[in-house]
Amino acid sequence: MGLVKRDQKKQSVDRVGERRKRIRDFVGLVKGLSDPDPTVRRWCARDLAVFSEASKHLVEQLKKEKDRSVKEVIVTTLIRIGNKEAVQGLIECLRSDDAHLRNASIEALKHLPHKVSPVMEQLLKDKDPDIRIFAINILESLKDERVEDWLIYVIENDPHINVCGTALDLLTEVGTEKALPSIAKVKERFNNPYINYVADIAVRRIRGAEENE
Protein backbone atom coordinates (compact mmCIF):
# COMPACT_ATOMS: atom_id res chain seq x y z
CA MET A 1 0.00 0.00 0.00
CA GLY A 2 1.09 3.61 -0.52
CA LEU A 3 1.91 5.43 -3.74
CA VAL A 4 1.59 3.22 -6.80
CA LYS A 5 4.66 3.31 -9.06
CA ARG A 6 4.23 4.31 -12.67
CA ASP A 7 4.96 0.81 -14.06
CA GLN A 8 2.59 -0.89 -11.58
CA LYS A 9 -0.42 1.28 -12.24
CA LYS A 10 -3.68 -0.59 -12.51
CA GLN A 11 -5.65 2.17 -14.24
CA SER A 12 -3.06 3.79 -16.43
CA VAL A 13 -4.57 6.53 -18.57
CA ASP A 14 -3.54 4.65 -21.73
CA ARG A 15 -5.29 1.45 -20.70
CA VAL A 16 -8.49 3.27 -19.74
CA GLY A 17 -8.32 4.99 -23.12
CA GLU A 18 -8.06 1.73 -25.02
CA ARG A 19 -11.21 0.40 -23.36
CA ARG A 20 -13.19 3.43 -24.40
CA LYS A 21 -12.38 3.56 -28.08
CA ARG A 22 -15.45 2.79 -30.20
CA ILE A 23 -17.07 4.15 -33.32
CA ARG A 24 -19.73 6.70 -32.57
CA ASP A 25 -21.71 7.88 -35.59
CA PHE A 26 -24.35 10.60 -35.81
CA VAL A 27 -27.33 8.25 -35.71
CA GLY A 28 -25.95 6.35 -32.74
CA LEU A 29 -25.18 9.51 -30.83
CA VAL A 30 -28.64 11.00 -31.44
CA LYS A 31 -30.16 7.73 -30.26
CA GLY A 32 -27.93 7.86 -27.19
CA LEU A 33 -29.41 11.23 -26.23
CA SER A 34 -32.47 9.42 -24.93
CA ASP A 35 -30.58 6.61 -23.16
CA PRO A 36 -31.84 6.02 -19.60
CA ASP A 37 -28.30 6.47 -18.22
CA PRO A 38 -27.42 10.19 -17.81
CA THR A 39 -23.71 9.44 -18.26
CA VAL A 40 -24.42 8.00 -21.71
CA ARG A 41 -26.64 10.99 -22.58
CA ARG A 42 -23.94 13.39 -21.40
CA TRP A 43 -21.27 11.71 -23.52
CA CYS A 44 -23.48 11.59 -26.59
CA ALA A 45 -24.33 15.28 -26.16
CA ARG A 46 -20.65 16.11 -25.92
CA ASP A 47 -19.61 14.03 -28.93
CA LEU A 48 -22.35 15.55 -31.08
CA ALA A 49 -20.42 18.85 -31.07
CA VAL A 50 -18.79 17.85 -34.37
CA PHE A 51 -22.17 17.47 -36.13
CA SER A 52 -23.78 20.82 -36.99
CA GLU A 53 -26.98 19.00 -37.97
CA ALA A 54 -27.37 17.88 -34.35
CA SER A 55 -28.79 21.23 -33.11
CA LYS A 56 -32.43 20.26 -33.62
CA HIS A 57 -32.02 16.97 -31.72
CA LEU A 58 -30.08 18.63 -28.93
CA VAL A 59 -32.72 21.34 -28.47
CA GLU A 60 -35.48 18.71 -28.39
CA GLN A 61 -33.60 16.77 -25.71
CA LEU A 62 -32.78 19.96 -23.80
CA LYS A 63 -36.46 20.81 -23.45
CA LYS A 64 -37.26 17.48 -21.79
CA GLU A 65 -33.95 16.68 -20.08
CA LYS A 66 -34.22 16.34 -16.30
CA ASP A 67 -30.58 15.76 -15.38
CA ARG A 68 -28.78 19.05 -14.76
CA SER A 69 -25.34 17.77 -15.79
CA VAL A 70 -26.72 16.55 -19.13
CA LYS A 71 -28.51 19.87 -19.67
CA GLU A 72 -25.28 21.76 -19.13
CA VAL A 73 -23.39 19.63 -21.62
CA ILE A 74 -26.17 20.00 -24.22
CA VAL A 75 -26.01 23.78 -23.80
CA THR A 76 -22.22 23.76 -24.18
CA THR A 77 -22.52 21.64 -27.32
CA LEU A 78 -25.11 24.03 -28.75
CA ILE A 79 -22.67 26.90 -28.09
CA ARG A 80 -19.91 24.95 -29.85
CA ILE A 81 -22.12 24.25 -32.87
CA GLY A 82 -23.41 27.82 -32.73
CA ASN A 83 -25.50 27.75 -35.90
CA LYS A 84 -28.85 29.44 -36.60
CA GLU A 85 -30.85 26.41 -35.42
CA ALA A 86 -28.92 26.32 -32.15
CA VAL A 87 -29.61 30.01 -31.49
CA GLN A 88 -33.27 29.68 -32.39
CA GLY A 89 -33.60 26.66 -30.10
CA LEU A 90 -31.96 28.51 -27.23
CA ILE A 91 -34.24 31.51 -27.75
CA GLU A 92 -37.25 29.17 -27.54
CA CYS A 93 -35.87 27.92 -24.21
CA LEU A 94 -35.97 31.48 -22.83
CA ARG A 95 -39.75 30.99 -22.62
CA SER A 96 -39.49 27.79 -20.61
CA ASP A 97 -41.00 27.46 -17.12
CA ASP A 98 -37.78 25.78 -16.02
CA ALA A 99 -35.62 28.51 -14.42
CA HIS A 100 -32.42 26.51 -14.81
CA LEU A 101 -33.08 26.02 -18.50
CA ARG A 102 -33.85 29.73 -18.96
CA ASN A 103 -30.64 30.76 -17.20
CA ALA A 104 -28.59 28.19 -19.10
CA SER A 105 -30.04 29.55 -22.38
CA ILE A 106 -29.18 33.15 -21.42
CA GLU A 107 -25.61 32.09 -20.61
CA ALA A 108 -25.38 30.15 -23.87
CA LEU A 109 -26.67 33.04 -25.98
CA LYS A 110 -24.11 35.34 -24.37
CA HIS A 111 -21.47 33.11 -25.93
CA LEU A 112 -22.93 33.49 -29.41
CA PRO A 113 -22.73 37.27 -29.97
CA HIS A 114 -22.54 37.22 -33.76
CA LYS A 115 -25.59 34.99 -33.98
CA VAL A 116 -27.61 36.88 -31.38
CA SER A 117 -26.95 40.43 -32.58
CA PRO A 118 -29.22 40.14 -35.66
CA VAL A 119 -32.18 39.07 -33.48
CA MET A 120 -31.49 41.43 -30.57
CA GLU A 121 -33.90 44.15 -31.72
CA GLN A 122 -36.63 41.56 -32.08
CA LEU A 123 -35.91 40.27 -28.55
CA LEU A 124 -35.92 43.79 -27.08
CA LYS A 125 -39.36 44.36 -28.60
CA ASP A 126 -40.82 41.05 -27.40
CA LYS A 127 -44.23 41.38 -25.78
CA ASP A 128 -43.06 39.47 -22.69
CA PRO A 129 -41.07 41.77 -20.33
CA ASP A 130 -39.15 38.76 -18.97
CA ILE A 131 -37.80 38.04 -22.46
CA ARG A 132 -36.79 41.71 -22.79
CA ILE A 133 -34.93 41.45 -19.46
CA PHE A 134 -33.24 38.24 -20.63
CA ALA A 135 -32.24 40.05 -23.81
CA ILE A 136 -30.56 42.76 -21.71
CA ASN A 137 -28.85 40.05 -19.67
CA ILE A 138 -27.46 38.73 -22.95
CA LEU A 139 -26.29 42.25 -23.91
CA GLU A 140 -24.14 42.17 -20.80
CA SER A 141 -21.60 40.01 -22.62
CA LEU A 142 -22.10 41.19 -26.18
CA LYS A 143 -19.06 42.89 -27.67
CA ASP A 144 -21.17 44.76 -30.22
CA GLU A 145 -20.76 48.49 -30.71
CA ARG A 146 -24.56 48.88 -30.75
CA VAL A 147 -24.93 47.73 -27.11
CA GLU A 148 -25.19 51.28 -25.74
CA ASP A 149 -27.67 52.30 -28.47
CA TRP A 150 -29.86 49.31 -27.70
CA LEU A 151 -29.85 50.19 -24.00
CA ILE A 152 -30.71 53.82 -24.77
CA TYR A 153 -33.58 52.59 -26.95
CA VAL A 154 -34.84 50.51 -24.01
CA ILE A 155 -34.75 53.28 -21.41
CA GLU A 156 -36.41 55.70 -23.82
CA ASN A 157 -39.19 53.38 -24.93
CA ASP A 158 -39.83 50.40 -22.69
CA PRO A 159 -42.92 50.80 -20.49
CA HIS A 160 -41.80 48.25 -17.89
CA ILE A 161 -39.91 49.51 -14.83
CA ASN A 162 -37.85 46.33 -14.32
CA VAL A 163 -36.77 46.26 -17.95
CA CYS A 164 -35.58 49.87 -17.72
CA GLY A 165 -33.91 49.19 -14.36
CA THR A 166 -31.96 46.29 -15.86
CA ALA A 167 -30.91 48.43 -18.81
CA LEU A 168 -29.78 51.26 -16.51
CA ASP A 169 -27.78 48.78 -14.49
CA LEU A 170 -25.85 47.74 -17.59
CA LEU A 171 -25.39 51.38 -18.61
CA THR A 172 -23.30 51.81 -15.45
CA GLU A 173 -20.77 49.64 -17.26
CA VAL A 174 -21.07 50.54 -20.94
CA GLY A 175 -22.70 53.98 -20.86
CA THR A 176 -21.02 57.12 -22.17
CA GLU A 177 -22.10 60.77 -22.09
CA LYS A 178 -24.35 59.93 -25.05
CA ALA A 179 -26.67 58.10 -22.62
CA LEU A 180 -26.94 60.96 -20.10
CA PRO A 181 -29.97 62.78 -21.64
CA SER A 182 -31.92 59.51 -21.92
CA ILE A 183 -31.06 58.62 -18.32
CA ALA A 184 -32.45 62.00 -17.20
CA LYS A 185 -35.63 61.34 -19.22
CA VAL A 186 -36.21 57.87 -17.79
CA LYS A 187 -35.98 59.29 -14.27
CA GLU A 188 -38.70 61.80 -15.13
CA ARG A 189 -40.80 59.20 -16.91
CA PHE A 190 -41.00 56.81 -13.94
CA ASN A 191 -40.38 59.15 -11.01
CA ASN A 192 -39.63 56.11 -8.91
CA PRO A 193 -37.03 55.59 -6.12
CA TYR A 194 -35.62 52.38 -7.68
CA ILE A 195 -35.15 53.95 -11.10
CA ASN A 196 -33.70 57.11 -9.52
CA TYR A 197 -31.22 54.98 -7.58
CA VAL A 198 -29.87 52.98 -10.55
CA ALA A 199 -29.97 56.02 -12.82
CA ASP A 200 -27.88 58.03 -10.34
CA ILE A 201 -25.29 55.25 -10.11
CA ALA A 202 -25.11 55.12 -13.92
CA VAL A 203 -24.60 58.88 -14.11
CA ARG A 204 -21.92 58.76 -11.42
CA ARG A 205 -20.04 55.98 -13.20
CA ILE A 206 -20.24 57.73 -16.56
CA ARG A 207 -19.11 61.06 -15.08
CA GLY A 208 -16.39 59.27 -13.08
CA ALA A 209 -14.99 58.11 -16.39
CA GLU A 210 -15.30 61.59 -17.92
CA GLU A 211 -13.18 63.10 -15.14
CA ASN A 212 -10.20 61.35 -16.66
CA GLU A 213 -10.40 63.18 -19.92
Binding site: M1, G2, L3, V4, K5, R6, D7, K9, K10, Q11, S12, V13, D14, V16, G17, R20, T39, R42, W43, R46, D47, A49, R68, S69, E72, V73, T76, I79, R80, H100, K110, H111, E140, S141, K143, D144, E145, V147, T172, E173, V174, R204, R205, R207, G208, A209, E210, E211, N212, E213
Partner: protein, 278 residues
Protein backbone atom coordinates in the same frame (compact mmCIF):
# COMPACT_ATOMS: atom_id res chain seq x y z
CA UNK B 1 2.93 58.84 -20.91
CA UNK B 2 4.13 57.72 -17.49
CA UNK B 3 2.03 55.38 -15.30
CA UNK B 4 1.98 58.02 -12.60
CA UNK B 5 0.03 60.36 -14.89
CA UNK B 6 -2.84 57.92 -15.27
CA UNK B 7 -5.58 58.65 -12.81
CA UNK B 8 -8.01 55.88 -11.81
CA UNK B 9 -10.96 57.41 -9.96
CA UNK B 10 -12.97 55.61 -7.31
CA UNK B 11 -15.87 55.22 -9.77
CA UNK B 12 -13.46 53.77 -12.34
CA UNK B 13 -12.21 51.30 -9.76
CA UNK B 14 -15.77 50.23 -8.86
CA UNK B 15 -16.75 49.89 -12.50
CA UNK B 16 -13.68 47.81 -13.26
CA UNK B 17 -14.06 45.71 -10.13
CA UNK B 18 -17.65 44.75 -10.97
CA UNK B 19 -16.77 43.88 -14.54
CA UNK B 20 -13.70 41.85 -13.59
CA UNK B 21 -15.66 39.99 -10.92
CA UNK B 22 -18.41 39.14 -13.37
CA UNK B 23 -15.91 37.83 -15.90
CA UNK B 24 -13.54 35.96 -13.58
CA UNK B 25 -15.13 35.53 -10.16
CA UNK B 26 -12.14 37.37 -8.67
CA UNK B 27 -13.21 40.17 -6.35
CA UNK B 28 -10.81 42.92 -5.33
CA UNK B 29 -11.75 44.69 -2.11
CA UNK B 30 -10.78 48.27 -1.24
CA UNK B 31 -7.52 47.09 0.33
CA UNK B 32 -6.37 45.94 -3.13
CA UNK B 33 -7.04 49.35 -4.68
CA UNK B 34 -3.35 50.28 -4.97
CA UNK B 35 -2.50 46.90 -6.56
CA UNK B 36 -5.39 47.12 -9.05
CA UNK B 37 -4.78 50.78 -9.94
CA UNK B 38 -1.09 50.13 -10.55
CA UNK B 39 -1.70 47.20 -12.87
CA UNK B 40 -4.53 48.95 -14.65
CA UNK B 41 -2.28 51.94 -15.23
CA UNK B 42 0.39 49.63 -16.67
CA UNK B 43 -2.09 48.07 -19.09
CA UNK B 44 -3.47 51.49 -20.07
CA UNK B 45 0.04 52.65 -20.85
CA UNK B 46 1.05 49.46 -22.71
CA UNK B 47 -2.05 49.54 -24.92
CA UNK B 48 -1.43 53.17 -25.80
CA UNK B 49 -4.75 54.30 -24.33
CA UNK B 50 -5.07 57.82 -23.01
CA UNK B 51 -7.07 57.05 -19.89
CA UNK B 52 -9.15 54.48 -18.04
CA UNK B 53 -12.24 55.20 -20.05
CA UNK B 54 -10.58 54.54 -23.40
CA UNK B 55 -8.93 51.41 -22.03
CA UNK B 56 -12.14 50.05 -20.50
CA UNK B 57 -14.02 50.41 -23.79
CA UNK B 58 -11.17 48.66 -25.61
CA UNK B 59 -11.21 45.86 -23.03
CA UNK B 60 -14.99 45.52 -22.90
CA UNK B 61 -15.48 45.37 -26.67
CA UNK B 62 -12.26 43.61 -27.75
CA UNK B 63 -13.56 40.64 -29.74
CA UNK B 64 -10.22 38.80 -29.73
CA UNK B 65 -10.12 38.65 -25.92
CA UNK B 66 -6.34 39.11 -26.02
CA UNK B 67 -6.27 42.20 -23.86
CA UNK B 68 -8.52 40.56 -21.30
CA UNK B 69 -6.11 37.61 -21.10
CA UNK B 70 -3.18 39.99 -20.59
CA UNK B 71 -5.08 41.82 -17.91
CA UNK B 72 -5.87 38.56 -16.09
CA UNK B 73 -2.18 37.68 -16.21
CA UNK B 74 -1.32 41.07 -14.75
CA UNK B 75 -3.94 40.81 -12.00
CA UNK B 76 -3.06 37.26 -10.94
CA UNK B 77 0.40 36.36 -9.77
CA UNK B 78 1.00 32.87 -11.06
CA UNK B 79 4.10 31.35 -9.61
CA UNK B 80 4.29 27.69 -8.76
CA UNK B 81 6.19 26.25 -5.82
CA UNK B 82 5.99 23.29 -3.44
CA UNK B 83 3.19 23.29 -0.84
CA UNK B 84 1.53 26.29 -2.50
CA UNK B 85 -1.90 26.90 -0.92
CA UNK B 86 -1.00 24.28 1.64
CA UNK B 87 -4.40 24.48 3.34
CA UNK B 88 -5.79 22.46 0.42
CA UNK B 89 -3.29 19.65 1.00
CA UNK B 90 -4.26 19.75 4.68
CA UNK B 91 -7.93 19.45 3.69
CA UNK B 92 -6.99 16.55 1.41
CA UNK B 93 -5.41 14.44 4.16
CA UNK B 94 -7.61 15.52 7.08
CA UNK B 95 -11.08 15.69 5.54
CA UNK B 96 -11.36 14.77 1.87
CA UNK B 97 -9.51 11.45 1.78
CA UNK B 98 -11.18 10.16 4.97
CA UNK B 99 -14.54 10.87 3.29
CA UNK B 100 -13.45 9.18 0.07
CA UNK B 101 -12.11 6.06 1.80
CA UNK B 102 -15.35 5.63 3.75
CA UNK B 103 -17.12 4.87 0.48
CA UNK B 104 -14.43 2.58 -0.93
CA UNK B 105 -14.04 -1.16 -0.58
CA UNK B 106 -10.82 -2.59 0.78
CA UNK B 107 -8.19 -2.84 -1.96
CA UNK B 108 -9.86 -0.24 -4.20
CA UNK B 109 -7.58 2.40 -5.67
CA UNK B 110 -7.60 6.08 -4.84
CA UNK B 111 -6.85 8.19 -7.89
CA UNK B 112 -5.66 11.80 -7.86
CA UNK B 113 -5.22 14.04 -10.91
CA UNK B 114 -3.13 17.18 -10.95
CA UNK B 115 -3.86 19.49 -13.89
CA UNK B 116 -2.13 21.67 -14.95
CA UNK B 117 0.92 20.11 -13.38
CA UNK B 118 3.33 22.68 -14.82
CA UNK B 119 6.89 21.79 -13.79
CA UNK B 120 5.73 19.20 -11.26
CA UNK B 121 5.63 21.06 -7.94
CA UNK B 122 1.95 20.30 -7.37
CA UNK B 123 1.86 16.52 -8.03
CA UNK B 124 5.07 16.00 -6.05
CA UNK B 125 3.66 18.11 -3.20
CA UNK B 126 0.61 15.83 -3.21
CA UNK B 127 2.87 12.77 -3.06
CA UNK B 128 4.97 14.12 -0.20
CA UNK B 129 1.89 15.28 1.70
CA UNK B 130 0.28 11.86 1.42
CA UNK B 131 3.39 10.05 2.61
CA UNK B 132 4.09 12.42 5.47
CA UNK B 133 0.73 13.61 6.71
CA UNK B 134 -1.93 11.04 5.80
CA UNK B 135 -2.14 8.49 8.58
CA UNK B 136 -3.97 6.01 6.35
CA UNK B 137 -1.43 5.92 3.50
CA UNK B 138 -0.31 2.38 4.34
CA UNK B 139 -3.85 1.04 4.04
CA UNK B 140 -4.62 2.30 0.52
CA UNK B 141 -3.03 2.35 -2.92
CA UNK B 142 -2.91 5.84 -4.41
CA UNK B 143 -2.28 6.63 -8.06
CA UNK B 144 -1.22 10.14 -9.00
CA UNK B 145 -1.62 11.33 -12.59
CA UNK B 146 -0.26 14.73 -13.61
CA UNK B 147 -1.09 16.51 -16.86
CA UNK B 148 -0.18 19.62 -18.73
CA UNK B 149 -0.65 20.84 -22.28
CA UNK B 150 3.01 21.85 -22.52
CA UNK B 151 5.32 18.91 -23.27
CA UNK B 152 8.41 20.91 -22.27
CA UNK B 153 6.87 21.40 -18.85
CA UNK B 154 6.10 17.68 -18.60
CA UNK B 155 9.68 16.76 -19.45
CA UNK B 156 10.91 19.19 -16.84
CA UNK B 157 8.48 17.74 -14.30
CA UNK B 158 9.60 14.18 -15.02
CA UNK B 159 13.20 15.22 -14.48
CA UNK B 160 12.16 16.62 -11.09
CA UNK B 161 14.81 19.30 -10.67
CA UNK B 162 13.84 22.39 -8.71
CA UNK B 163 15.34 25.65 -7.51
CA UNK B 164 15.88 26.61 -3.89
CA UNK B 165 13.07 29.16 -4.27
CA UNK B 166 10.67 26.47 -5.46
CA UNK B 167 11.25 24.20 -2.44
CA UNK B 168 11.51 26.91 0.21
CA UNK B 169 8.16 26.06 1.85
CA UNK B 170 9.09 22.40 2.43
CA UNK B 171 10.33 21.73 5.98
CA UNK B 172 14.13 21.12 5.92
CA UNK B 173 13.88 17.55 7.20
CA UNK B 174 11.62 16.67 4.26
CA UNK B 175 13.96 18.36 1.78
CA UNK B 176 16.71 16.18 3.21
CA UNK B 177 14.53 13.09 2.99
CA UNK B 178 13.20 13.50 -0.56
CA UNK B 179 15.71 15.67 -2.45
CA UNK B 180 19.33 15.48 -3.52
CA UNK B 181 21.22 18.75 -3.71
CA UNK B 182 22.89 18.72 -7.13
CA UNK B 183 24.86 21.90 -6.70
CA UNK B 184 24.18 25.01 -8.79
CA UNK B 185 21.25 25.65 -6.45
CA UNK B 186 19.29 22.72 -7.88
CA UNK B 187 17.48 20.02 -5.95
CA UNK B 188 16.32 16.78 -7.59
CA UNK B 189 13.40 14.90 -6.14
CA UNK B 190 14.09 11.22 -5.39
CA UNK B 191 13.45 8.49 -7.98
CA UNK B 192 10.82 6.85 -5.82
CA UNK B 193 8.62 9.94 -6.01
CA UNK B 194 9.40 10.55 -9.67
CA UNK B 195 8.19 7.00 -10.34
CA UNK B 196 5.03 7.60 -8.34
CA UNK B 197 3.60 10.23 -10.69
CA UNK B 198 2.37 9.39 -14.18
CA UNK B 199 2.84 12.42 -16.44
CA UNK B 200 0.51 12.63 -19.46
CA UNK B 201 0.05 15.46 -21.91
CA UNK B 202 -3.53 16.58 -22.35
CA UNK B 203 -5.47 19.52 -23.71
CA UNK B 204 -8.42 19.67 -21.36
CA UNK B 205 -10.77 21.25 -23.88
CA UNK B 206 -10.25 18.47 -26.42
CA UNK B 207 -12.83 15.74 -25.71
CA UNK B 208 -10.89 13.11 -27.68
CA UNK B 209 -7.82 13.62 -25.52
CA UNK B 210 -9.65 13.73 -22.20
CA UNK B 211 -11.80 10.65 -22.73
CA UNK B 212 -9.17 8.41 -21.18
CA UNK B 213 -9.01 10.46 -17.97
CA UNK B 214 -11.54 8.70 -15.76
CA UNK B 215 -12.32 7.46 -12.26
CA UNK B 216 -10.50 10.12 -10.28
CA UNK B 217 -11.44 10.66 -6.66
CA UNK B 218 -9.75 14.01 -6.34
CA UNK B 219 -8.64 16.56 -8.92
CA UNK B 220 -6.39 19.53 -8.26
CA UNK B 221 -7.12 22.06 -10.98
CA UNK B 222 -5.68 25.26 -9.64
CA UNK B 223 -5.16 28.49 -11.53
CA UNK B 224 -6.10 27.13 -14.91
CA UNK B 225 -9.74 28.09 -15.47
CA UNK B 226 -9.03 31.80 -14.93
CA UNK B 227 -6.94 31.82 -18.09
CA UNK B 228 -9.67 30.33 -20.27
CA UNK B 229 -12.40 32.12 -22.14
CA UNK B 230 -15.97 31.48 -21.01
CA UNK B 231 -16.76 28.61 -23.39
CA UNK B 232 -13.46 26.80 -22.79
CA UNK B 233 -14.02 27.18 -19.06
CA UNK B 234 -17.39 25.46 -19.39
CA UNK B 235 -15.94 22.65 -21.49
CA UNK B 236 -13.08 22.19 -19.01
CA UNK B 237 -15.46 22.11 -16.03
CA UNK B 238 -17.64 19.49 -17.72
CA UNK B 239 -14.54 17.45 -18.54
CA UNK B 240 -13.47 17.53 -14.89
CA UNK B 241 -16.97 16.38 -13.93
CA UNK B 242 -16.75 13.38 -16.23
CA UNK B 243 -13.24 12.56 -15.07
CA UNK B 244 -14.45 12.17 -11.48
CA UNK B 245 -15.90 9.09 -9.86
CA UNK B 246 -19.30 9.73 -8.27
CA UNK B 247 -18.71 11.67 -5.04
CA UNK B 248 -15.24 12.79 -6.20
CA UNK B 249 -13.89 16.29 -5.58
CA UNK B 250 -12.30 19.13 -7.52
CA UNK B 251 -10.12 21.74 -5.82
CA UNK B 252 -9.61 25.05 -7.62
CA UNK B 253 -7.19 27.92 -6.98
CA UNK B 254 -8.09 30.36 -4.21
CA UNK B 255 -9.16 33.05 -6.67
CA UNK B 256 -11.32 30.71 -8.73
CA UNK B 257 -14.91 29.62 -8.41
CA UNK B 258 -16.89 26.96 -10.22
CA UNK B 259 -20.18 28.66 -9.46
CA UNK B 260 -19.62 31.22 -12.20
CA UNK B 261 -18.88 28.47 -14.70
CA UNK B 262 -21.35 25.65 -14.10
CA UNK B 263 -23.93 24.51 -11.59
CA UNK B 264 -23.34 20.77 -11.96
CA UNK B 265 -21.08 20.44 -8.93
CA UNK B 266 -22.19 20.39 -5.33
CA UNK B 267 -20.30 22.98 -3.27
CA UNK B 268 -18.67 21.47 -0.19
CA UNK B 269 -17.24 23.61 2.57
CA UNK B 270 -14.40 22.06 4.50
CA UNK B 271 -12.68 23.70 7.46
CA UNK B 272 -10.05 25.44 5.37
CA UNK B 273 -11.27 25.32 1.81
CA UNK B 274 -14.13 24.88 -0.62
CA UNK B 275 -14.29 21.85 -2.88
CA UNK B 276 -16.63 20.98 -5.75
CA UNK B 277 -18.17 17.54 -5.58
CA UNK B 278 -19.68 15.33 -8.27
Amino acid sequence: MNNANINITKEDFLKFREYFYRKTGILFDESKRYFVDKRLAERIQKTGCKNFREYFIKLRFDKSGIEFERLVNAMTVNETYFFREEYQFQAMVNEILPEITKKKREGELIRIWSIPSSSGEEPYSIAIYLLEYWSDINNWDVEIVASDIDTNMLEKAKEGKFSQRSIQNIPPHLVKKYFTHNGNGQYQICKDLRDSVEFKRVNIVDPLQTKAFRNFDLIFCRNMLIYFDDVSRKIAAETLYDALSPGGFVLLGHAESMSRVTSIFKIRRFRKCIAYQK
